[in-house]
């Protein structure tokens, strides 16, 4: 390879949102960057719902709206708690979201990542696809000085390696930089792409033009497991999926594809998908351990960004924006050290962690640090008992059947009391409040 040099300033492992954010920022600042991606192109191995949060990308490519492949801007959020036959929803829809610079978009990751990667190349980085990084190369002092790949040839050397290798993170794990993810800290999500004419989508979801709707759902759809379902409107397709914590799946007999079929067959979901043509079935892991699961992030010659660093806010279904932000901040750290001519050792790279502390990434993850354990320990309550109670209460309240309202009220409260007890409910409220604050 003619343009391959002896030593790069930076090697970026992986071309998802965190790797692309890092490689773009570095190349834009004039550093010599090589980015290595195992897929045929950036995006070909990447799976997400997917919602793009504009803010994180705007800080990297302010004019992205003019050229990025975006599907619909989100004007309505539907939060559903479901039992087997019903859903109770909280919807927020606002025409304020029809703004000049919309806040959230639905995207198709294979197309979006390919575009982001084209920007990385334009900025001057060398992007090497169809190449899997197999291990880190260290010098005698333990400083990471490069990587080996599954292509024959010499190792590739650089002053620093940014590991944007995603949730499975084999390179970092096999080099002993971090432990394997625990099955309790990671969700398995499966997803299908359902195609429909855009007019059908707009009529079904009450949309005009490029407006879009997001549905996030929880309840008996996950069969007692910790997890959520989702449905996002794209331009001419609907992304529908469901995910649960891996250890919950392992303890149950539930097959992920059957769980998705059951969700799609739910009377609240089925009519939305009717007549669609399915064109892809995908599965992906989502790191959901939160703040407590964040591994060591820096060392001599290496930095971790994105899913490999467990940067996902499971409560708010945010991940790609944390990925892009950690990628950008890691790159900014490296640029500053490079300009000052400093060594990229553990002490110097620690600055990345200090910088992250000042962003929403660490603030949000710290805020919710108690939530993953709380939900996991009380999954039967939060994903089964309460959704059922809420549905039964709604049904009792709205069904007009000659029974007086006072009696209905009593029946609703009795149902809650008998299922959870007053102390149980107070305890649940206390635990949620404490984990939430």
């Amino acid at each position: 390879m003619a343009e391959m040099q002896d030593r790069f300033d930076v090697i970026v492992v992986g071309a998802g949102p965190s790797g692309n954010a890092a490689a773009y920022t570095l190349a834009k600042e004039g550093l010599n960057v090589i980015q290595i991606e195992r897929g045929e192109y950036s995006g070909s191995k990447n799976v997400q719902g997917a919602i793009l949060y504009a803010d994180a990308l705007e800080k990297i490519i302010p004019e992205f709206r003019e050229e990025a492949p975006l599907e619909r801007h989100v004007i309505e959020q539907r939060m559903w708690t479901m039992d087997d036959t019903s859903h109770t929803g909280m919807h927020y829809r606002s025409s304020d979201f029809n703004e000049e610079k919309p806040n959230r978009y639905t995207i198709l990751r294979a197309q979006f990542d390919k575009w982001f990667s084209s920007k990385v190349k334009e900025a001057g980085a060398l992007v090497l696809c169809e190449t899997t990084v197999t291990e880190l190369v260290k010098d005698l002092t333990g400083q990471v000085i490069g990587v080996r790949t599954d292509r024959s040839g010499n190792p590739i050397f650089a002053k620093v390696v940014i590991l944007a290798e995603g949730v499975n993170g084999l390179v970092g794990q096999r080099s002993g930089l971090r432990d394997e993810i625990a099955p309790e800290s990671v969700a398995l999500a499966v997803k299908e792409m359902h195609f429909l004419p855009r007019e059908t989508i707009e009529a079904r979801f009450n949309l005009r033009g490029n407006e879009g709707v997001v549905i996030e759902a929880m309840g008996t759809i996950t069969k007692g497991m910790t997890g959520t379902g989702f449905l996002y409107t794209n331009e001419e397709s609907i992304s529908v999926g469901i995910g649960c914590i891996v250890s919950d799946f392992a303890e149950s007999n539930v097959t992920p594809s059957q769980l998705l079929e059951a969700f799609k067959a739910h009377p609240s979901i089925a009519p939305l998908l009717e007549g669609s043509e399915v064109k892809e079935y995908a599965a992906h892991l989502i790191p959901e351990g939160g703040y407590k699961a964040i591994p060591r992030l820096t060392g001599d010659g290496w930095i971790v960004v994105g899913d490999a660093g467990q940067f996902v806010n499971a409560v708010h279904r945010e991940g790609s924006n944390l990925a892009m932000t950690t990628g950008r901040v890691a790159a900014e750290t490296v640029v500053a050290l490079h300009r000052r001519g400093e060594e990229m050792d553990a002490l110097a790279l620690k600055d990345y962690e200090r910088r992250l502390e000042a962003t929403f990434v660490m603030k949000d993850l710290r805020k919710y640090k108690g939530i993953p354990a709380l939900l996991h320990a009380n999954k039967g309550t939060f994903f089964g008992a309460y959704p059922r109670l809420i549905s039964q209460a709604m049904q009792t309240w709205f069904r007009v059947d000659g029974i007086d309202k006072k009696t209905k009220e009593k029946a609703i409260f009795r149902n809650f009391r008998e299922t959870r007890s007053v102390w149980g409910m107070l305890g649940d409220a206390w635990r949620v409040a404490r984990a939430w604050r």
Partner: protein
């Protein structure tokens, strides 16, 4: 609680049929290490694998056919403690090629 028998819809093999793959013939990226009796974790993969790659053979061992693998990594994480699965990424460029992701 886990009765999903009523769920209609296609089998997982039919779902995989919609996907694009570039199979690295003769070089599977996942192998099950030789075993007499599978652990509970390995056995769980026969239902847990979202691509249905794992099956219990009549002889009592768990087998994997990774051609339809979605590269999620679930089996790698679930069997990490027992070491029964040898998991690598497919060679660069091979494996599932997501069209939409």
């Amino acid at each position: 609680m886990t009765d999903l028998a009523i769920a209609p819809g296609p089998k997982v093999e039919e779902k995989l049929f919609q996907n694009r793959y570039l199979v690295d013939a003769g070089k599977p990226h996942i192998r099950v290490r030789p075993h007499e009796v599978p652990s509970a974790s390995l056995l769980a993969m026969t239902t847990l694998c979202p691509a249905g790659c794992y099956a219990l053979a009549e002889s009592g061992q768990v087998e994997v056919a990774a051609d339809g693998c979605l590269e999620c990594g679930t089996c790698r994480i679930v069997t990490k403690a027992t070491g029964e699965v040898e998991w690598n990424y497919p060679r660069g460029g091979f494996g599932v090629l997501y069209k939409f992701g």
